[in-house]
């Protein structure tokens, strides 16, 4: 019954508010009239009776307001009226409102966009069952380097640890796959039998691997990804006819994995790792490993478990060397996939957070200026019975309106901007496909807008309602007195803006200078007009078959020389800036010193003067010529260097300097058999220039080049230097390859694309932080301008008096500029301290400059002062034009 009454009252208050209002108005008025009647009866004069009645009533509006506050649902009702009033207030100053909404939209949008990347890459759980239980397992060697696992170590981890329900190893490679609708170059992963159990993934069609599949003599089987199945197997439900040919072996497709399962990244096919053909060495790190934790086991416990096994192996192994593991580690797979991307992304998030602060500061200042204009309105409202709480809520409501509208536009912008952001993102950023504007990102945007609103609203409300309402009325709304402290707050805000902007600009400046320094580095090769072509032939171990492949490549290169515009054609096992080369230890020795048995090498490996360390690259002479890698001494490979003649090597300049200081390395011989199993000595015949194989910001590595025709391999990248149109070169080269062997696919890229991708993350960070910095600079400049313009308009009278007393325009200008610059300098001082403390965070992203680079700091300070001067100058000049007569009269 009571509930019914209450509900009825609530609904009536909400929907029949006009009638309720009219009724209370009538009631209070009749009350007043009855009071007057009462007073008249006591013999008062009519005027006096009315006055006394009014005093007793205490004001019709106040009484009405007090009744309203008592009403059921008045909270909702007043929120709605607050919103109505707030919207009207915002519409009244469309210019200011537009600026505030735009500023908030920019900042919230940028923050949301960056967060969408952070969320997609770092936070979004991997798309597997209980992804936080999947771990990556590593070896740690004596140098502290984390590496993949050697087979015997993996087996020990798997059999001896008690922390995992399933452990699997995997290795991926690119292979030429034929037998499907067309030959492809596809990433193929060799995995041990428990692999899918680790991910709790089951084939949607067909079956998982069994333990027998991994044994020698088993029929070759393969699993395909959903994408590969759809694209190249025609989504066939019946797999009995599906066979794929890789490396001359025919695999039966036994299963299709669910859509969305793609681990390792970009993989299309999975085949069983050859468990019988394992490498017995504990220092050949060929496989990555993953495991799923047993229920109740923590990451730390698993880590201690693996670590103990690793140390046991270390203590008992006969293979004591730098490459032997010393320890083991277990990290969540997600961290291991995204580990390297984490610091720069967090820096970007921090930077955009700074932009957000600067933007909020601008909006806060605008609101503050508006609030001081509204002092009279506030005074009237509180005189009419509005409580302070009610006024604060009004400000909060307005801030919420602003932030939500701004946030809405921001999310809209972020939705469109995320696409561009992803286009800009470096190719090596993991998990980019999981970046989108999704529910958690939207939730973030909503929370962010709410936080911004709460902050802005609380701030303006606290500032605006601290005064005494009677003063606002008494002063006729000029608000001169209250504005003094609000101007001080405004200047403080501007100083903070300048400080934050300085930090952002210094960050952007340091990144910019780093990029410039990187671009100054001579890579050691040419970049333009080169088309690259990746070709993989089936892997062969038989030396004769390998020689046959070398002849195939020689043929291919010869034919490609006929391409339109082709000037130089070569081949290499590893393009610069495209993933790197294998490295290892070589031995300096002459033919007489070669031991008769493999065991004889062990004592030689102990002799420090014999050992060298270098990257190992298989190449042809045309590779050096196409990339214009200069020959410094000696010669490149040529016709003399056939498979049967003595094997030769070309070495890089830095290796010559390092290993043969003060000597001529040409004619020396070395053994580098651990790279390709060929123990024949290599005679150094030439020295070529260093190249920045691992990117411009990494020092060149000492490198040993061997001839493709003496040390054949099955996968190469052909480099074609041609000034003809890239598309023409590509299509012609594809045709030539198809004529030689229609089953071999090729991948074409331009070298300039590869080169530019190597600078991708640097460019990405610079563009984003630069954008944030410039946006912050514009906002801060606007902030300075706003505060100064406001200050000048408030000081018109004072300036008028000064001018009347004889101050010249120069003095006035100096006074205003001085006032503005004082604020700016306070901001700069705080900003410098902040920048010195914070730029250490970007140290890892810098190249060739220190985090405290004086040039960058000085440049940024100059830029800020110049921008601030400009922003102060316009209001200052307006101040010089104050006509003392007008100024004095208008007040």
């Amino acid at each position: 019954m009571s509930l019914f009454t209450r509900t009825r009252s609530f609904l009536r208050n909400l929907f029949a508010s006009r009638r309720v209002e009219a009724e209370i108005e009538a009631e209070v008025r009749s009350h007043l009239e009855m009071l007057v009647d009462e007073n008249l009866r006591t013999g008062m004069a009519p005027e006096e009776a009315r006055r006394a009645a009014r005093i007793e009533l205490g004001g019709i509006e106040q009484v009405k307001e007090q009744v309203r506050q008592q009403r059921l649902g008045q909270w909702l009702h007043s929120v709605i009226s607050d919103i109505r009033f707030g919207a009207r207030q915002l519409r009244k100053n469309p210019g200011t409102t537009a600026i505030m909404v735009f500023t908030l939209a920019l900042a919230i949008g940028a923050t949301t966009a960056i967060f969408s990347v952070v969320y997609g890459v770092l936070l979004r759980p991997l798309p597997y069952a209980e992804p936080d239980r999947i771990m990556a397992i590593f070896e740690i060697n004596s140098g502290g380097t984390w590496s993949r696992l050697a087979d015997p170590n993996f087996n020990d981890f798997r059999t001896q640890s008690h922390s995992f329900q399933a452990v699997a190893k995997y290795a991926d490679m690119t292979a030429s796959v034929s037998g499907a609708s067309q030959p492809t170059r596809t990433t193929v992963a060799a995995v041990s039998p428990e692999f899918l159990r680790v991910f709790r993934v089951h084939p949607v069609i067909g079956r998982d691997f069994s333990a027998e599949d991994a044994r020698k003599g088993a029929a070759p089987v393969i699993l395909v990804s959903h994408g590969y199945w759809r694209q190249f197997l025609g989504s066939a439900q019946d797999l009995s006819e599906a066979h794929l040919k890789i490396d001359n072996a025919v695999f039966s497709v036994v299963g299709v994995l669910p859509a969305g399962f793609q681990f390792p990244p970009d993989v299309g096919l999975w085949l069983p790792a050859d468990l019988d053909g394992e490498n017995a060495s504990r220092t050949s790190h060929n496989y990555s490993a993953v495991g799923r934790l047993r229920d109740g086991v923590t990451v730390e416990e698993a880590g201690r478990d693996i670590s103990a096994i690793a140390r046991r192996i270390h203590d008992t192994s006969s293979e004591q060397s730098d490459y032997l593991l010393k320890d083991g580690a277990v990290v969540p797979l997600q961290d291991s996939v995204t580990g390297k991307a984490r610091p720069p992304l967090l820096i970007l998030l921090g930077a955009v957070g700074f932009l957000l602060l600067v933007a909020c500061a601008n909006v806060a200042n605008l609101l503050l200026a508006q609030a001081s204009v509204r002092e009279r309105e506030l005074a009237v409202r509180s005189a009419l019975g509005a409580t302070r709480r009610r006024l604060i809520r009004q400000f909060l409501t307005e801030a919420f309106l602003l932030s939500l509208v701004g946030g809405g536009f921001g999310v809209l912008g972020a939705t469109m901007g995320t696409g561009g952001l992803l286009g800009l993102a470096p190719e090596d950023l993991p998990r980019l496909d999981s970046v989108s504007i999704n529910v958690p990102v939207l939730l973030f945007a909503l929370l962010l807008s709410t936080a911004v609103a709460a902050g802005l609203g609380a701030f303006t409300a606290a500032r605006a309602t601290s005064g005494d309402p009677s003063r606002g009325l008494g002063e006729g709304g000029r608000g001169q007195a209250g504005s003094q402290s609000s101007q001080r707050v405004g200047r403080l805000i501007v100083a903070a803006q300048i400080a934050i902007t300085l930090v952002l600009l210094v960050g952007a400046g340091l990144l910019g200078r780093s990029l410039m320094k990187v671009l100054e580095v001579n890579p050691g090769f040419r970049v333009d007009e080169i088309v690259t072509m990746d070709v993989s032939l089936p892997w062969m171990s038989d030396p004769k078959a390998k020689t046959g492949q070398a002849i195939f490549f020689a043929n291919l290169i010869d034919r490609l020389k006929q391409l339109p515009g082709a000037r130089r054609v070569g081949a290499t096992s590893g393009l610069p800036m495209d993933g790197g080369l294998p490295d290892g230890m070589f031995l300096l020795m002459t033919q007489d010193e070669v031991p008769a048995t493999p065991e004889g090498f062990a004592p030689l490996l102990q002799q420090k003067e014999r050992i060298g360390n270098a990257d190992f690259c298989v190449a042809t002479d045309g590779f050096f010529q196409a990339l214009a890698i200069p020959l410094i001494r000696g010669r490149l490979f040529d016709e003399r260097d056939s498979a049967d003649s003595p094997h030769v090597a070309v070495i890089s300049e830095s290796l010559a300097r390092q290993r043969w200081p003060g000597q001529d390395p040409i004619g020396h011989t070395l053994e580098f058999g651990n790279m390709d199993g060929d123990l024949r000595l290599l005679t150094v015949v030439g020295i070529v220039g260093d190249i920045h194989e691992y990117g411009l910001d990494a020092p060149p590595r000492p490198t040993v080049y061997v001839s493709l025709f003496q040390r054949p391999r099955s996968a190469i990248t052909v480099t074609i230097l041609s000034n003809a149109d890239t598309r023409l070169v590509t299509s012609e080269a594809r045709r030539i390859l198809q004529e030689l062997d229609p089953e071999i696919p090729a991948r074409f890229r331009t070298f300039s694309h590869i080169y530019s991708a190597s600078l991708g993350s640097r460019r990405f960070h610079l563009i984003l932080i630069g954008f944030f910095g410039i946006a912050a600079l514009l906002l801060a400049t606007a902030g300075v301008f706003g505060v100064m313009a406001y200050s000048v308009s408030r000081r018109t009278r004072e300036i008028g008096v000064r001018v009347a007393l004889g101050a010249g325009s120069r003095e006035v200008l100096g006074m205003i500029l001085g006032q503005g610059l004082r604020t700016v300098f306070v901001g700069i001082a705080i900003g410098l301290a902040g920048a010195l403390a914070l730029t250490r965070a970007v140290e890892s992203l810098l190249f060739g400059v220190t985090a405290t680079d004086p040039l960058t700091f000085a440049g940024v300070v100059l830029l800020l002062v110049a921008a601030a001067l400009l922003a102060c100058f316009i209001p200052a000049r307006r101040a010089t034009r104050v006509d003392p007569m007008v100024a004095l009269r208008c007040e």
Binding site: S9, Q66, Q69
Partner: protein, 110 residues
């Protein structure tokens, strides 16, 4: 507006209003004067406290209202107790009796 007396008298005010309506329907000023009269002038209920309380109690369903003619032929809003209000009055009166007795006893104890 001074809100102190209202909060101080929150419970009391309701009780006094209910009591003044127990003897028949009244309009706002009538209630105000009646309270003044039965408390011998101790409590003067100002409209700023009276009307919010009336509206709240009406929403609670303790009293109901209707428009009628005042003694001077003015249109006035009259209030009367509902049966829920009568019950409420008894509950409140009993509670007040206990409280005032307790406080009186407490003050007498030395």
């Amino acid at each position: 507006m001074p809100s102190e007396p209202t909060t101080l008298l929150q419970g009391t005010l309701d009780l006094l209003i209910l009591k003044s309506l127990a003897t028949g329907e009244r309009h706002g000023l009538g209630i105000s004067r009646r309270v003044q009269q039965i408390t011998r002038g101790t409590f003067v209920v100002k409209p700023g406290s009276l009307f919010p309380a009336l509206h709240r109690m009406e929403e609670e369903g303790w009293i109901s209202s209707f428009w009628g003619e005042s003694e001077n032929n003015r249109r006035a809003k009259y209030y009367r107790l509902t049966s829920a209000g009568r019950k409420q009055f008894e509950v409140k009166a009993r509670r007040w009796g206990r409280i005032s007795l307790a406080i009186a006893q407490a003050l007498e104890t030395s």
